[in-house]
């Protein structure tokens, strides 16, 4: 008997188009095939041994795919065809909220009034507003981006909002983190987030997590939620959120800002690319400053955070086009908005064809993000602000090198320091005296480590020390010869 194999399936049959067999029924043919072409079994049958839904067996032009037709013996000259059924469909419900949860939601008169301007939009309406109320959203980070996202999602009527942040409000936060006010200083950021949400709508189920994201807690924090909005400012948190969200099958609306520029995109949506597809590895520690070090213009997080909130609402309602597989890049200084394509990577260690990361515990985030002191490297010695102050008071012989950029020095000059930006260090290392201790300073003590490593690589042999915590940590030091150092 002759068995024809569709061109689409031939890779599993040694590329043969036609097979000759003595078997005389479909049952016999299938078991003969299993012996002859073991590769083909997994493409023909699922793990329960049932014929896969896309495989069709024809005899001549008659469909014999159902099992009850497999015993009949066939005549010697009949031709059996193994063909695929090609079918598919557009996604029925574009919303990430399951229909049964939407149907369980009801509105009272007050809510009808409150959300009237959503209800009158044809694309949102009662159905969409119910999805918004049924939604459970995690907002990671109650800083500048989080401020915009928290307020708009609360105002839009998201039913459950969880905010995760370990930090407390400090004065410098108030320039852009608009949910916190002067009276919130030194309070946990999640506390002022809670106040603002309560003031907007007391019916919102608000959950505060005053904790830092770690491998131990990330899955518990996000599992069971519909969407995560990444408003964090560091690589470790971003990789943790991305990986856990992928493993829990939750989409992430990602936002990031730096100085005048921002980015928004969506990861892990319906098999779309993830953060690791876009950024396979973080930059070396200390190279790219966070907003705390690099600064950002005040309204920028409002722009980027508002777009994040808008993207999240569209996914919840199931409307419009969105940023999965695309990155929106915003330059607020020259008002350029660009959309860049983002491809899913086949070799991605998380979401690629052969993933190596199967749980957040499998991965060393501290090491990956350069937060660990590598063992093989010589550890960098440093002084605490108190130790350095003492050496300055004692007038110990030493060279202090300020590696900050000119505009940063304009805010706060470090007395008696020589100025060499990081990019010029290797070239200008002959300006340093290798017989004398050299202390490197920057704003937060990270770029100064990079400076020391750069000089080491360039072959500088003199003793080098880092100012731990940078100039920020020195603010409170008092010198005896002055009232205050600053």
């Amino acid at each position: 008997m002759n068995v024809y194999i569709s061109a689409t399936l031939r890779n599993f049959f040694g590329k043969n188009a036609r097979l000759e067999t003595k078997a005389s029924s479909i049952n016999d043919i299938l078991s003969w095939i299993k012996d002859e072409y073991p590769e083909s079994e997994k493409v023909l049958f699922d793990e329960n041994g049932k014929l896969r839904s896309f495989i069709r067996i024809y005899v001549g032009d008659e469909n014999r795919s159902s099992e009850d037709k497999w015993k009949t013996s066939l005549s010697e000259d009949s031709e059996v065809l193994l063909l695929p059924a090609i079918a598919g469909g557009a996604p029925e419900n574009d919303s990430i909220i399951p229909e049964e949860r939407r149907k369980a939601v009801a509105f009272d008169d007050k809510e009808i009034e409150r959300f009237g301007r959503h209800l009158m939009l044809r694309d949102i309406g009662v159905k969409g507003q119910k999805r918004i109320k049924a939604a459970r959203v995690v907002i990671a980070g109650a800083g500048a981006l989080g401020s915009a996202v928290i307020q708009y999602l609360a105002a839009a009527g998201v039913g459950t909002i969880k905010v995760v942040d370990f930090d407390e409000v400090s004065l410098e936060n108030l320039q852009s983190q608009v949910i916190h006010t002067t009276r919130d200083l030194n309070r946990p950021k999640v506390a002022s987030a809670k106040d603002i949400v309560r003031n907007i709508n007391r019916n919102i189920n608000f959950e505060a997590e005053n904790t830092k994201l770690e491998t131990e807690n990330i899955v518990d924090i996000i599992d069971g939620y519909d969407i995560v909005i990444d408003c964090t400012d560091n690589y470790k948190a971003r990789y943790l959120i991305n990986d856990a969200a992928y493993l829990c099958d939750i989409p992430v609306v990602f936002g990031a800002i730096y100085q005048f520029e921002g980015q928004v995109t969506i990861f892990n949506l319906n098999g779309g690319p993830c953060y690791r597809c876009a950024f396979p590895a973080p930059p070396p520690a200390g190279l790219v400053p966070t907003c705390a070090e690099g600064g950002a213009i005040s309204p920028l997080p409002g722009i980027i955070g508002s777009i994040q909130a808008n993207e999240a609402l569209k996914l919840i309602i199931g409307i419009g086009d969105h940023l999965s597989g695309k990155i929106l890049s915003v330059d607020s200084l020259y008002l350029r908005f660009k959309i860049l394509e983002l491809e899913k990577e086949k070799e991605c260690p998380l979401c690629g064809a052969h993933p190596s990361i199967k749980g957040v515990q499998d991965f060393d985030y501290e090491d990956f993000c350069g937060l660990k002191q590598p063992e093989e490297e010589i550890p960098i010695e440093g002084f605490t602000p108190e130790e350095l102050a003492k050496r300055i008071e004692n007038e110990d012989p030493m060279t202090i090198v300020d590696v900050r950029e000119p505009h940063e020095r304009a805010i706060q000059r470090f007395p008696n320091a020589i100025v060499i930006p990081i990019g010029q260090l290797a070239r200008r290392m002959n300006e340093l005296d290798p017989e004398q201790d050299t202390i490197f300073i920057c704003k937060q003590g990270m770029r100064s480590i990079l400076a020391i490593n750069t000089l080491r690589e360039a072959g500088y042999k003199g003793p080098m020390f880092n100012l731990k915590g940078g100039i920020d940590a020195m603010k409170d030091i008092m010198f005896s010869h002055e009232g205050a150092w600053l």
Binding site: G88, A90, P91, K344
Partner: protein, 141 residues
């Protein structure tokens, strides 16, 4: 690295024209690759055989139609490289049904169509029957 597939300019234009005209229904067809060059150089546009009321969100290609077309293609030195279909008013992402029917090793091109014509165009593939789906970038050559 992301896999890439090359489609000839003429073929690419023909696919887009067919899918644009099929709106508001789903359009579909077979991608034929040149066995020598590996480039997708021809298509067989197919009448969507899903029932009328399902055509806006479904497509189906009759197995026997595929059988006849692939034999005809082989006689011209071509082979089936994969399939294309459109998602009217929906994103070019794979639906549950799309994934369920994916044949390992075949290219699936999904095109989002709408009132304003062609939207997003995405390529997908998987290596193993229960394996993961990954993106394939499409080049016009």
């Amino acid at each position: 690295m992301t896999d890439t597939v090359s489609i000839s300019k003429r073929t690419y234009a023909a696919i887009m024209l067919q899918l644009k005209n099929a709106y508001p229904y789903e359009g579909c067809g077979i991608l034929l690759g040149n066995k020598q060059s590996g480039i997708v150089e021809d298509i067989n546009s197919i009448d969507n055989s899903a029932e009328d009321d399902r055509k806006t969100a479904h497509y189906m290609i009759d197995p026997i139609t595929l059988y006849r077309l692939e034999i005809e293609a082989e006689s011209r030195g071509m082979s089936v490289a994969g399939f294309y279909h459109s998602h009217p008013d929906k994103a070019a992402v794979l639906s549950k049904e799309d994934k369920q029917y994916m044949i390992p090793g075949m290219l699936y091109v999904v095109v989002s169509t709408g009132r304003y014509g062609i939207g997003e165009i995405k390529g997908y593939m998987k290596d193993e029957p229960d394996g993961k789906v990954y993106g394939v970038s499409i080049w016009e050559v």
